[in-house]
Symmetry: C2
DNA sequence: TCGCTTCCGCTACAAGTTCTAACTCTTCCT
DNA sequence: AGGAAGAGTTAGAACTTGTAGCGGAAGCGA
């Protein structure tokens, strides 16, 4: 018999149920936020009783961990695909913005206020490194050949452990950090609704920040 | 009898209990975050039974609203006091940073991921306007006399309803928005712990952002 | 095809949460 | 001093997360 696929029927069923649970979880998160996520509600919505879900996720935190992992994975893949398509730093920035606006709660789950007792497992930091690498590559490419040394750059030249395996020069690291924090500043305030009521277009602000970084 | 003080003993007791509840709430929030705030735990910690607190706060949301109001009030007063002491824009920025680091959860309660169903009452937006005014004053003062027109500035010249009563020129509005989002970008990522593991000093990044804005 | 084992979903339950209802008792005010 | 207002109580409803133990169905090996 062809045992080419090592997954047993039960395993396949398991992963399928897990996937459906996470799908429902994303729906719930999108409408009510991460802290309002209820295993019971998901179970009832799927036509099963509450405790049944504990066969698939040890507890609520494990479900959230999986959602965080999926969100990181999605962002990393989206950025990597855009980079492979030849997007430059500005292009990647707009991809990031689109990704964030597509599902605000997904962005906030990763980059917003951390869940109280929760802390990210190791492999999510690995995916976070992937994201950083994609952006660092673009930063190094966007940097003028003879960028003047900045105070931040010189500081980072001596504290670059977090990017030790990346060949980007200190000024590229500075550009990356500056880009990250500035774009996150605009995006997070926009997603949190702090611009509602003000009449201006957040995208203009986003583009202005981008233009200021890429002369 | 001298009725110089219009507060009755009961009112005084009421405000005192409310104040103690909020004090305990801040302690809880500082350690476990806003979403983990439990009226029951506060009540037991104060030596009374759960439902007793409902004499003082209609529900959990009203308590949170009061905490948000207090946080806004604290930030507005802190900035106003610094401005009255002659602090310039850079000084105000450092006051903001200190205020945020003093109690990270307090900053995140106001500027972090919004509570799902919760929405801020009107008077908190009024206090938020106070904060904006203090910063806008400093921005207008920090602006070079003949600042060149930026795309963001020209956009804001036509969408300045949110600052209609403030005489600041469009470029000052642009400076304010840029300052706000950039500082928030650094602060929120720092408070959320996204820089832990990286070795660099977030304050260097904060100061670099400030230096880039104030030539 | 038969039987064993594994695993799934269930109900019941414990320990929490917010919040309502109804009662007692103190305190204040007239 | 008497009546009204309000504080704190317990009981309980409707939730939540998570555990324990039960039946039955499904897959796996012989």
């Amino acid at each position: 018999m062809a045992k080419s696929d090592p997954t047993t029927p039960r395993e396949r069923y398991r992963t399928q149920v897990r996937a459906e649970v996470m799908e429902r979880a994303w729906e719930q998160i999108a409408t009510a936020g991460a802290s309002a996520l209820s295993l019971n509600a998901i179970a009832k919505h799927m036509g099963m009783s509450g405790p049944a879900l504990y066969r698939y996720f040890a507890n609520r935190d494990e479900l959230i961990t999986e959602l965080v992992r999926e969100a990181y994975r999605s962002l990393a893949d989206t950025l990597a695909a855009a980079a492979a398509d030849g997007a430059d730093l500005a292009g990647l920035a707009h991809v990031l913005r689109t990704w964030a606006l597509t599902d605000p709660q997904r962005y906030l789950l990763v980059y917003g206020t951390p869940i109280p007792g929760y802390q990210a497992p190791e492999d999510t930091t690995a995916i976070s490194q992937e994201i950083a690498t994609t952006l660092l590559d673009a930063c190094a490419a966007a940097l003028p050949p003879a960028a003047p040394a900045s105070p931040l750059g010189t500081h980072l030249a001596q504290h670059r452990a977090w990017a030790a395996d990346h060949p980007a020069p200190p000024e590229a690291l500075a550009l990356f950090l500056t880009l990250w924090t500035r774009l996150h500043g605009v995006l997070s305030l926009e997603l949190a609704g702090h611009f509602t009521g003000m009449q201006f277009d957040p995208e203009t602000l986003f583009d202005a920040e981008l233009a200021a970084l890429l002369p």
